[in-house]
Symmetry: none
Subunit: 221 residues, 4 copies
DNA sequence: AATGAATGAGCATTCATTCAT
DNA sequence: CATGAATGAATGCTCATTCAT
């Protein structure tokens, strides 16, 4: 792997584990066994590293918004896969959300990019909800669509960080991803049309099982 | 006002405006026109200031959980007033939530206190939901109560911080409080029983009006 | 007791236990439950406290140099009582010797007083040795008297501090006083005349017993 | 010279001249014309500098304990060269002994290392005395060997520091080294066997001459 | 590409001391 | 006599960043 990529990889890992605030550029260099000078050969400054990580994150997000394969999966099935994917990204870049305010306050350019993507997400999410509404999967009046879309996004975005503040040890595992998907489903529950209820229940049951298995596995370790 | 209180007040203001990370103890002292030594006469260290602010915050939270006046208000009416109060607190101590992870990671004692209050909130919210369910205001199965309670708490807790990341200028005003209450109502909407729907709609309309008025006022300024 | 005396007493105790460097004027005031301002009402500064302690110490030293009761004790017996007294003083003011260099470097006036007393001690010790030599208790040429006197003084002066550096826990107890007297006797041993040897041995045996008793007592605790 | 070595050298000089307490890391950096950051690039903290100086000191001590060349020198001759070497070390690291208590109290690891070396010195000194006794150079009963060994060590260890407290100007010169050797000899004098007396006197005379020459030289300056 | 010594402004904190009350 | 808030220079130390090699 190229040094530049190794720096990004190590920074992401260290940021996620100890928080961006606690990790200095010297920590990153030492962790990789390279000199601080070399790190600054590849990146202009610490912000630059964070921007690169953000770029990576953004491409994952865009990827997650790919249209669904209408022939091989139901729309609810797609939705769940989408949520799952999003939460994986939130997990992968959890340091970013833990310090989102600080990071955006320090870097106007990054903020502009971030806000732009957020707006795009709002639009796409709303249109997805509208499709679900139009084909009778959910029952939802127009005026609530934008709000619900943003609420779901917020739950996904805040989930990992919020969970880590609710526990005395502060550790978060991948388990929380399944819990996060379930939480979005629960939030969604009230809007599901009767005709889609059976499939919805099936999906929920299936995720509950995944969570149980994952929790058992974690406990074993 | 006593110097100790002035330090707490100034710290809270500066933390909210610039972020806890960006504000040093010397900034606080200079802002108040006192010497750094004097600040340390009143507080052992920066953490101590944050803990004092947290204590203040905690007492607001506890205050917000007072039982409702059953003779003079409906349960939905109480709920809205409660949400309103909670969001005011979130606004008042928004720096705390913006840096929650960092702050709790650095201070185990504070984390313990925070987690304890969070658990108490979960219990009380769940029991409030159960009352609403039992008197027919909402329709909600037992297994969903805990999750819904926590989701609502999460929306309230993350609302201010999340909003400030969604806008290019990053500023959040008290308007967002009305929006926050409305968002919780929307999330709640799917669970409201038919018989409570009229009152629910009335309350929502009323809050939409408050928001419109407030937004107009802000715009004027 | 007067506040001034309480400050001196507390300072001496705290300095001895934690070292002068580690004890601030605020520590002393807090330990006594008085205000720092009050401490500075009684003393101009920290140095002033140390000077007062020194004055007390000096009077003990002068006291120890009282002539001996020629009718009721032998000269060797007197010498041992004298050594014992000196070492008690060294114990009582052990912080002073532990930081002697620092303290004298910071306070020229104190240094002048200290040096003056030291010179007086040298003269008096030498004349005492001369008496012992003249009455045949010790065998010692003139040219060695001054040196031996100073060596003995040095052993007494450094004893407590030196012992505390030789042990892993750094604690020194009153036991070390008996050991100190014995060490001076051992150093003296080579110069004792044959005719005084029996009494010398008797005194040494007696002190060894005292040490054994004291050590046993310490162990019990 | 490497910067790290320059820092050690400058620290040792400044500590010796003004006392460890009075010299801050910023003083050292300013004295060398380097930034405080650079100093902390080479050393983790002030303690680390002191530990490095101590390591240097320890290697000198170990060096001084090399066995003597039985073919080319007498045992008394060796002893004097050894004492001379030890006192040179005490001179070179005099700040260390002046603040020994403080330094060891603040640094448990250093204390452990120091105590270990002290114990080794006691053992080696005692066995050296036993050799001198066995070949008839000194007359000394077994039970006094350990005590005499420690007394001599104490005189060597405290000599420089003690001398600096005995003079009104507080300055100590290399002259004191010769005086120190002579003082140890005087302390030893009482135990020398008759057959070794002539050589002992010769050595003493020789050192007295060295001292006289050195004093004259110092006076000239 | 990479090194690693060097920078320097800044940080949290300390503490002997002052002074109005 | 006594209080306790206030001072401010100083301390040990950090860290993003630079630059000659």
């Amino acid at each position: 792997m190229k040094t530049k990529d190794r720096i990004i990889k190590a920074s992401l890992e260290l940021f996620n584990e100890h928080g961006e605030r606690a990790i200095t550029t010297n920590h990153i260099a030492a962790h990789l066994g390279i000199s601080p000078g070399n790190l600054y050969y590849h990146f202009r400054n610490k912000e630059d590293i964070i921007r690169c990580i953000y770029t990576e994150y953004e491409s994952y997000i865009v990827e997650a918004f790919r249209p669904y394969d209408v022939e091989h999966e139901s729309d609810l099935g797609f939705m769940v896969r989408f949520l799952d994917g999003m939460l994986q990204v939130m997990w992968r870049y959890r340091f970013f959300y833990a310090n989102l305010g600080d990071i955006l306050n320090r870097d106007d350019e990054l903020r502009a990019r971030y806000v732009k993507v957020q707006e795009k997400m709002d639009v796409q999410s709303a249109s997805a909800l509208r499709i679900l509404r139009d084909n009778g999967t959910v029952e939802l009046e127009d005026i609530y669509i934008a709000d619900l879309a943003q609420t779901l996004k917020m739950i996904v975005a805040c989930w990992i960080g919020f969970q880590s503040t609710q526990k005395i040890d502060g550790t978060v595992t991948k388990n929380e991803i399944y819990q996060g998907v379930l939480r979005v489903l629960t939030t969604f529950r009230g809007y599901i049309a009767d005709k889609a209820r059976p499939e919805f229940d099936r999906i929920e049951t299936q995720y509950r099982q995944l969570l149980k298995d994952s929790a058992a596995e974690t406990a074993e370790i």
